[in-house]
């Protein structure tokens, strides 16, 4: 049962991930990315971390992608719909890409360490998935400093985004609809 679910989710995630890259209209890519994130959240549940799955939906789908769509809707996407992206100039990057993908897959399929690792430590299936309280204890005891640093980074990003998106006071030609963020 679990394998079937994984395969389904993985196939949909891969397909929507590809759609993100090949869709002409940015709003279609954004929606494909939303679908992909939802699949990944479901995979997180399979991985025994429902908290991360919910956070994934909350932050990625509910906030980040909504911001993306907000920006896309404020911009003109008509021009992009006409441009081609597989230009001759993209050939070197395509080669690099194929090399990268091939290398990763090769290493994954051929690596002895991965095989031995799998053989060495079979995961304990009888253990119940970790509770959120354990997670939070770990986060707020051992990882308190990184947590605080992350929150400061978020604050800085908040202030930075507001300053960046603010229209110049002298420049009245543009409406300032971005403060809503």
């Amino acid at each position: 049962m679990e394998e079937e679910f994984f395969l389904l989710l993985a196939v949909v995630a891969t397909a929507t991930g590809l759609l993100v890259v090949v869709a002409k209209n940015p709003i279609h890519s954004a929606l494909a990315l939303v679908a992909c994130f939802v699949q990944v959240a479901a995979l997180f549940i399979l991985l025994g971390s429902p908290f991360l799955a919910v956070i994934q939906i909350f932050v990625y789908v509910g906030a980040v992608m909504v911001l993306f769509l907000f920006v896309i809707m404020m911009l003109d996407v008509q021009k992009e719909a006409k441009t081609r992206f597989l230009t001759p100039g993209a050939v070197p990057s395509l080669i690099v890409l194929l090399l990268l993908a091939g290398e990763m897959l090769f290493l994954l399929l051929q690596s002895d360490r991965l095989q031995t690792f799998r053989a060495a430590s079979p995961p304990d299936q009888t253990q119940t998935p970790a509770d959120i309280s354990e997670l939070s204890l770990l986060l707020f005891q051992d990882y308190l400093l990184p947590f605080e640093v992350a929150s400061v980074i978020l604050l800085v990003a908040l202030v930075g985004a507001v300053v960046l998106a603010q229209a110049d006071p002298e420049d009245n030609t543009h409406t300032s609809g971005e403060e809503a963020k």
Binding site: P26, G48, R118
Partner: protein
């Protein structure tokens, strides 16, 4: 029980897809979205290893990645809006003023 390598292969595929988006697309928005995809594939890897080893630190790392991603997206979209206001373009090829 799903083998660990399945998750790793899925992560690799998503990472390669995201890299393709970053390298091949010229639209800043889609480049940003592809970056999100790559970060997500990293999260899958972290959680898969954490699950395999019954170690919560994988989840902790994933939480940090998600938090930092949110910050990154806010700043990036702010830059993007400012960019559009000043340069009126979203093509990465047109944004070359930093070139020496």
């Amino acid at each position: 029980m799903i083998p660990l390598s399945w998750y790793l292969i899925l992560g690799a595929i998503l990472f390669a897809t995201g890299a393709a988006g970053v390298l091949l697309r010229r639209n800043v928005l889609i480049v940003l979205m592809s970056l999100e995809l790559m970060l997500n594939s990293v999260n899958i890897n972290l959680l898969a290893f954490g699950h395999q080893m019954q170690d919560l630190r994988g989840q902790i790392m994933a939480i940090f990645i998600i938090a930092i991603t949110a910050a990154e997206v806010a700043v990036a979209l702010g830059i993007l809006v400012a960019l559009l206001r000043n340069k009126h373009t979203l093509e990465v090829d047109d944004l070359t003023i930093m070139k020496g």
